[in-house]
């Protein structure tokens, strides 16, 4: 009950970033540094007591750029503002996309070798790859999306499964930005995961309409778990009433539509340094269990990757997440 997991990335230490930027550092030394950071992240997640772990995306510069640089058909155009002085690199799709091989295989093999807990590998989903790129090649977004889903994500999933991945989290933060495209997304996503034979989780976050646009199309999505962001919208007051847990209102949609799949419950706001108390986390989980009606359908995680927080803040947040989860388990079992 209430299995705990991370969502994706952890902040890279300054020494690591400086080290990799140094042109004098050899390829072997860089690879060793990446291994070391991945090892540190795995140990941190396991020490905290998470049930599912990965490497904190230690080898990935950023979720979109890392993936797009390893696909055929993309050329990087330059930086686009995310907010204020924060920018990300955006690519142009200038040719038909093609798969160049399993770009997460090295990290998966490393995590398998170095972790004791169950492994959940995050990958960037087809819709986000399409939406975050400039389309200069395809006639329309739909054609572009289906090609990314079928020609890149599907073979990647197959290769990761063959390499021993049993749980794959497909990150789709762009999904709710274009509500009118939800049906097309579901069709493309389903084509990419069809017959893969893994447990599939889909991570969606920062929905402008509190996930309303997911429904009803999302009911047809071939996924086993929805890992979602909630804490960002919630109050900091203790309690399990609707008023105290206003951030978790969208759970009622899952109940209303009778969707009984697992909810990965975001209980940590990843954009603030405040460390949520275990009691607050406990109440968020208990509210979710009450709303969904089955505690076994709730997993517990941060809202999103913790990469914008310092490592000690991330550690303290995750530690309290595990404590709060244990308190919720005890409450349910008492």
């Amino acid at each position: 009950m209430f299995r705990t997991q991370e969502i994706g990335s952890i902040k890279k230490p300054d020494w690591f970033v400086r080290f990799l930027k140094n042109p004098k550092i050899s390829k072997e030394a860089r690879e060793k540094a990446r291994d070391d950071l991945a090892y540190m992240n795995i140990r941190m997640f396991e020490d905290v007591g998470l049930d599912y772990v990965y490497d904190g995306e230690a080898r990935r510069v950023e979720m979109y750029e890392y993936a797009a640089r390893r696909m055929q058909g993309f050329e990087f155009a330059g930086k686009i503002r995310s907010w204020d002085n924060k920018y990300y690199r955006k690519a142009r799709c200038t040719d038909k996309v093609a798969y160049l091989g399993p770009y997460h295989l090295d990290e998966l093999q490393f995590v398998k070798k170095n972790s004791k807990a169950e492994i959940k590998i995050p990958i960037t989903g087809p819709y986000t790859i399409m939406d975050w790129s400039f389309n200069e090649h395809y006639r329309n977004r739909e054609e572009f999306l289906f090609d990314v889903a079928n020609k890149i994500i599907r073979p990647l999933l197959k290769d990761l499964k063959a390499a021993g991945a049993n749980i794959i989290q497909i990150d789709e933060p762009a999904l709710t930005t274009h509500p009118k495209e939800m049906k097309t997304f579901v069709e493309a996503f389903n084509e990419s995961v069809k017959g893969i034979g893994c447990e599939i989780s889909v991570h969606i976050c920062y929905s402008g309409d509190n996930y309303r646009s997911l429904f009803p199309n999302i009911l047809d999505l071939k996924a086993d778990q929805f890992a979602l962001e909630f804490a960002n919208r919630d109050t900091l007051s203790l309690g399990v009433s609707d008023a105290k847990r206003v951030g978790y209102d969208a759970l009622k949609l899952f109940r209303k539509y009778g969707d009984k799949r697992i909810i990965g419950l975001g209980v940590l706001d990843v954009h603030v340094d405040r460390i949520e108390e275990p009691e607050l986390i406990r109440d968020r989980i208990l509210y979710a269990a009450k709303t969904i009606g089955d505690p076994n359908k709730i997993y517990v995680n941060p809202d999103c990757g913790l990469r914008t927080r310092s490592r000690d803040i991330a550690f303290n947040k995750l530690t309290n997440m595990v404590k709060g989860t244990q308190m919720a388990r005890e409450k349910i079992q008492s």
């Binding site: 155009a77 686009i80 503002r81 907010w83 920018y87 939406d131 975050w132 402008g208 954009h271």
Partner: protein, 318 residues
């Protein structure tokens, strides 16, 4: 037919070295902003654009000067800008805005490099009152209509200062109107709020620029507004859907896609622009970008600006 030309819309992207400088809190940041702004202003002049705009390289989003400087507003959480992977700080409305004792007027002017604009005809982009209301979190008024009218009053005061400082083109950017397609009473109220602004903008033209939505359904109503011109994002509104209307005002033809790096050919821009001119017969006509160019990287924005100017020359020649 009145004037024929081109102008820039919205925030221009920062060049790479300015991005780096903002990330490192460079002590020479202000100087660097000026250097980079001069380059873009010089290009606008060199290309003979009808109006010259501050590229707003130091604005973090279109509402930020208000969010940070207007008494009664507070900076709120990050929120997605419509369907983009770009976020803005949501203004939190904490007190009555119009008539606030601390409001001295001229919040915007402090954020524009008027000294760099020289003697060119000056243009400024501001949010329209409905969009600013829509993108804010109202914690005081309890009624969005009252908030919108107070924002319109504040904008009117700001515009008076801008006109005094030589701005002769005020562009109200209205993505929320285009995106939401308001109807009936709501559209009338929006019209009243915009008319309130126009009333106080004597000495300048007021254009309403609508982007990120197809405006064909509300187009006839928009033509009833007391504005000097309307801007249309032709990447979202098909010309065919509005071609039967006569536009008895100015028209800004937003036909350069500011959200895609794919380059429009100047000849095809001019060709499309001439179709628009022929179909809608506006009083004056400007080619422009569909929305802020900050959604594409700097080198691509420069190329689009160049192509816009070339298209304008071709159009004038024809």
């Amino acid at each position: 037919m009145g004037e024929l030309g081109a102008y820039l819309t919205g925030i221009f992207p920062r060049p790479e070295r300015l991005i780096e400088a903002t990330r490192k809190s460079d002590p020479n940041l202000e100087d660097l902003v000026e250097v980079e702004e001069r380059k873009i202003i010089k290009l606008q002049r060199q290309y003979g654009l009808a109006y010259c705009s501050d590229p707003l390289l130091d604005w973090d989003d279109m509402l930020r000067p208000f969010t940070d400087g207007l008494p009664g507003l507070k900076s709120g959480p990050l929120n997605r800008i419509f369907e983009n992977n770009t976020f803005y700080r949501m203004p939190l409305v904490m007190e009555k805005l119009d008539g606030h004792p601390k409001y001295k007027g001229s919040v915007i002017l402090k954020h524009i490099h008027t000294n760099l604009l020289g003697k060119s005809r000056r243009k400024i982009d501001l949010p329209d009152p409905f969009t600013m209301t829509d993108l804010s979190d109202d914690r005081y008024y309890g009624n969005k209509v009252d908030l919108m009218f107070d924002i319109a009053k504040v904008l009117s005061k700001e515009i008076r200062f801008l006109v005094k400082s030589g701005f002769s083109m005020i562009q109200l950017n209205a993505p929320s109107i285009a995106y939401q397609e308001p109807k009936g009473d709501q559209l009338s109220q929006i019209g009243d709020a915009i008319n309130e602004i126009v009333k106080h903008a004597s000495g300048a033209k007021v254009y309403l620029h609508l982007y990120w939505g197809d405006i064909s359904k509300i187009f006839p109503k928009l033509l009833d507004l007391d504005i000097d011109g309307i801007g249309i994002d032709f990447t979202r509104t098909p010309l065919d859907s509005i071609k039967d209307y006569s536009v008895d005002m100015g028209l800004a033809c937003g036909c350069l896609d500011a959200q895609n790096t794919r380059m429009e050919d100047p000849k095809s821009i001019a060709e499309f622009a001439s179709h628009v001119l022929e179909a809608l017969s506006p009083k004056e006509f400007f080619i422009t970008n569909s929305c802020d160019l900050e959604y594409i990287p700097y080198p691509f924005a420069i190329r689009k600006l160049t192509n816009m100017a070339k298209a304008s020359f071709i159009l004038k020649g024809s």
